[in-house]
Structure formats: structure tokens, C-alpha cells
């Protein structure tokens, strides 16, 4: 227990000190990007890992929050109001999407979330007069929370890190909470949970709303980072990629999706400068991990660690 805390403190110090150590703006920005995708993956994992609901429409919350915020800003509203309204709007859409998607479960749920994601993408792509279609929308500057300028790469990284840490803390509490236990119960034995007095539908819907809320927060960070949003950022490929991050890292864990986001974002950005076929590399990594660690990297590595420790014990017993 104490060792866990120590590891956490060291990790926090490393993460905070990161921009001071790297100094290269490109890599600091890359670190911010990783955090944003990690938050997105953690949020979709509330559904995937803890709720057993596979959603292929999670990028739509990036879109709803991003377009919402930029449209408000371009209409002349302030940063704080735009951010709040964008998050509320995007989460409310999430509540509605949940209402529709939870008419079904399993493949049906997946197809409805896919369709909803495509609708959001389609609107962004086609509603030229509002969204500027394929060209996307721009905004000039990042907000200045509490008067602190976050335009510089290190400052933006720290801002993202703070938001990420808060979000992760909330999701961690959620997974350890009575509601989290009920969500996991509803994933494993929905019929039994009903017979124990649990409202399975409401549990899953609330999980959907929470996932879309944190997805929207990630979306807001995304648009602050890029100061630009276009339909490409919210296409089906994005939703699938976020899902892959969670699966690659291990959907049954809190930290798995973060590791998945680190690997996929690094391969996409760093490996792609050295090899043309980085997509193939990504595919190979994915196949190899799933072959040897079907539950993802974090559970797989944990098992390896235990196996590495156990033979010592077994030998001593012999």
C-alpha cells in the first residue's frame, strides 16, 4: 500500500517535471496530445470495461463539445461561458444518445452508437453554413484560466495534466464506488441484478452520461489544443481508435486505456516519421498483444509479474 503511494508520487513528479526535462516543444505538445487521448480512452472505458457496452460513437462527444465551444466563441461569448455551455450541450446529447442506444444491447448497441456517431459527423460535414463543412472551424486563442496564459506548450501541458488528473481521480472513485460495483454487476449478470433490486437500465444510462461527460471534457481540451475542429477529428476512425486504445491497454483496468493511448499516439506521431507503413506497425502491435495478452497489456503484464515472482516461492516450498 505504502509502495503504491510512493510510486504514485514519483509518477506525479515525473509527469509534472516532463516539460522541464524535454524542452522540445514538439514533444511537449505530443505529451499533451497523449493526455487528451488518454482521457478519451478512460472515458470510453467506463462503458467498455466497467459497463460491458461497446460504443463506436465516442468521438462524437469530441465533436459536440468542440463545435459547441468554437461556435459560441465565434459568436462572441466568453471562454468560461462557452466551455460550460459546450460541455452541458455535449453531455445532454450524450444523455439522449444513451436513451436511444440502450434500446438494445451487444451488437445492437454498437450499431446504434455507430449510427449516432455518423450522424454527428454527417452534420459537421454537411451543415456548411454552421460548421464550414470539410474546412472546419478555427478559433484564435486558448482560454486563460484564472488569468494564466496557456498558449505556450509547457503551460498547456500542465493545464491538460491538471484536468486529466482531476478526471482520473473521479473515474477512479467511480470504479471503487457502490455505483461502480453495480455497473460491473449489471455487466456480468443483468438479470440477477434486476432480481436483486437494481435498475439495470438506469445504471447503464447513467454510466453512458458520465462517459459522455468526460468524453466532452476531453473534446474541449482537444479543441483548445488544436484551436481547430473539422469532421476528420470526429470520424468513425477516431471512435474506433479510442476503443482500440482501451482494448490494447486492458479494458478491465483503470490504467490500461492510458497505456493504450500512450502507445497508439506515440506510434502515430513518432514512428510515422521513420516508417511509411506505421499503420501496419500499429496493426502488428495490436495483433501481437492480443494474441499473447488477450485481456490487454496491463492485465497481461501484471500476470507476467506474478508469474515471475511466484516460481521463487514455489522453489522455496519444494
Amino acid at each position: 500500500m505504502r509502495r503504491n503511494w510512493l510510486a504514485l508520487v514519483i509518477l506525479a513528479i515525473v509527469l509534472i517535471a516532463l516539460p522541464l526535462a524535454i524542452r522540445n516543444e514538439y514533444y511537449v505538445n505530443l505529451a499533451s496530445q497523449i493526455l487528451i487521448y488518454a482521457l478519451l480512452a478512460v472515458s470510453v472505458n467506463i462503458l467498455l470495461g466497467y459497463g460491458g457496452m461497446v460504443s463506436l460513437g465516442h468521438a462524437s462527444f469530441v465533436g459536440l463539445a468542440s463545435y459547441g465551444a468554437v461556435l459560441m466563441l465565434n459568436a462572441g461569448f466568453g471562454h468560461l461561458l462557452s466551455a460550460v455551455v459546450a460541455i452541458i450541450f455535449s453531455t445532454a446529447c450524450g444523455a439522449l444518445f444513451g436513451l436511444l442506444a440502450l434500446r438494445a444491447s451487444g451488437i445492437g448497441f454498437l450499431m446504434i452508437t455507430l449510427a449516432l456517431g455518423q450522424i454527428v459527423w454527417g452534420i459537421a460535414y454537411r451543415a456548411n453554413t454552421i460548421t464550414n463543412g470539410d474546412n472546419g472551424l478555427r478559433y484564435a486563442e486558448r482560454p486563460a484560466p484564472f488569468g494564466i496564459d496557456i498558449n505556450a506548450a509547457p503551460n498547456f501541458y500542465w493545464f491538460t495534466l491538471i484536468v486529466f488528473a482531476i478526471a482520473l481521480f473521479f473515474v477512479w472513485r467511480l470504479t471503487r464506488s457502490p455505483f461502480g460495483a453495480a455497473l460491473q454487476g449489471a455487466r456480468d449478470q443483468p438479470r440477477r441484478m434486476r432480481m436483486l433490486g437494481h435498475n439495470v437500465w438506469l445504471i447503464q444510462w447513467l454510466a453512458f452520461v458520465l462517459a459522455s461527460f468526460w468524453g466532452s471534457v476531453a473534446g474541449l481540451l482537444f479543441v483548445y489544443y488544436n484551436l481547430f475542429i473539422s469532421p476528420h477529428a470526429i470520424a468513425l476512425q477516431q471512435s474506433a481508435e479510442v476503443l482500440l486504445m482501451a482494448i490494447l491497454g486492458g479494458a478491465s483496468t483503470l490504467t490500461g486505456p492510458i497505456l493504450g493511448a500512450v502507445i497508439i499516439t506515440l506510434v502515430k506521431n513518432v514512428a510515422s516519421t521513420y516508417i511509411d507503413r506505421w499503420n501496419t506497425l500499429l496493426g502488428a502491435i495490436f495483433v501481437i498483444v492480443i494474441m499473447f495478452m488477450p485481456f490487454g497489456l496491463v492485465p497481461g503484464l501484471r500476470q507476467l509479474w506474478l508469474r515471475w515472482k511466484r516460481p521463487a516461492k514455489a522453489e522455496r516450498a519444494a
Binding site: R173, R176, P178, A182, M193, R194, L196, N199
Partner: protein, 246 residues
Amino acid sequence: MTPALEVLGLNKRFGGLPATKEVSLTVMPGERRLIIGPNGAGKTTLFNLVTGDLSPDTGSVKLFGQELLKLPTQQRVHLGLARTYQILTLFPKETLVHNVVLALLGLDRLRWNVWAFLSGQRHLYDTAREALALVGLGSSADRTVAETSYGERRRLEMAMALAQKPKVLLLDEPLAGLSQEERSQVREVLARVPRDVTIVMIEHDMDSALAFAERITLLHYGEVIVEGTRAEVVADPRTKEVYLGE
């Protein structure tokens, strides 16, 4: 006195096959009712209709006078209904105590809390351990379900239902697949259930459950054939015909 459970003219067809035909049943508070019948008699279907896993074509189900049919399963549970399953439905990777805690959460407002640590809810765990002790699983509370025997799982099913302090408890073949010794353990547990709990129990094997029953209902092809006290049902020639295979 209002019956604890009142079933009136219940019909359910699966395609062309009637699973329950005009089933009516009145169970008084505190009663121990045994429902017997050969395979496919519609015993489990009857339970599924009472709990809301299935909805009937026609008929009515009342719990202490309140109509249940329009209510979803979880609300029926909040009114005091609990059941165990013939085919075990547990949470295999979790500990026994966690299984019972999930049962307790089902009736606790705390289940909506997204912030508190579940492991910090001492009262839930204490109550869950008491329920496990009641069925003789006190010392196994921290083992996972996967590590327990079939007989222990049967008793866990019972602990989860009893922990909820139900008014009406439906037991679906709680003795099925158990050894003689395990059967007597389960019977002891049942004998200790207080009288403010009404128990309706399905049993395929009549001999093993006869001692428990005060009144018996015999189902055959979805219909109530015989109903009465233990002595009446056992003495009835139709029981022999349908059940004892003469």
C-alpha cells in the same frame, strides 16, 4: 387476512405451447408452500411470471394485495420479493461477501453513490457476513465464488436472498444436485427462516422437500391439478397418477 402472494388466472403461451394455464394460487403470510410437478410442468415459468422475468398473456399477480404485473422486476424486489435460481446466477470472480453486498446494495440508496468507497461501507459488509454465517458460510466469506463447491454456491444463493429480508421468498429447487449432507444443511437453514417470511419452494424431487411443506400445489402441463395440505395432496389419487408415475 390479505394473502402474501395471490396468483389469479395466469396464462402464458410460448408459441403454441401453453406453459401455464389458468394458474391460481393463494399463499398466506408465513406459509411454507411447496410447488411440485414433473419436468416441464411450468414451475419455473410460474416463478418467472411472478418476478417479472416474463410477462403473462392474461392474469394477475398480487403481493400483499398490490398488483405486480405492471411493475418492472426491480420494483417487485423493493416491495419484498426475493428469489433464488435453479441455474445458479452468481458473480463467479467476486468473493462471496461481495455477492451478498451486491444483494444488499440493491435495496440501499447507496447504490447510486459514485464517490464513496464501497469497501468502506462497514455496515454492508457486516450485514453480508451475518447473512453468510446464517447459511454456514461465515468462514468462506472472502473466497471467490469460483473457489467454492456447488453446495456452497447453492447456500450463497440463499444468503443473497435472505440478506434482503424479503417478505416473500421464492426458492427454485434449492436442493437440486446436492448430497444428502448438503441437503440437510439447506433444510436447517430453511427451518431457521423466521415466520414473517413467506416461502414458496419449487422442488422436483418430492421426497426431499415434503417435510418442509405445509401446503402443496401440484402442477402438471401448466395446470394446477391438486392443491391442499401435505396429507391431502399425498393421499390424492391424482398425485400418484401424475407424479409417482402409476
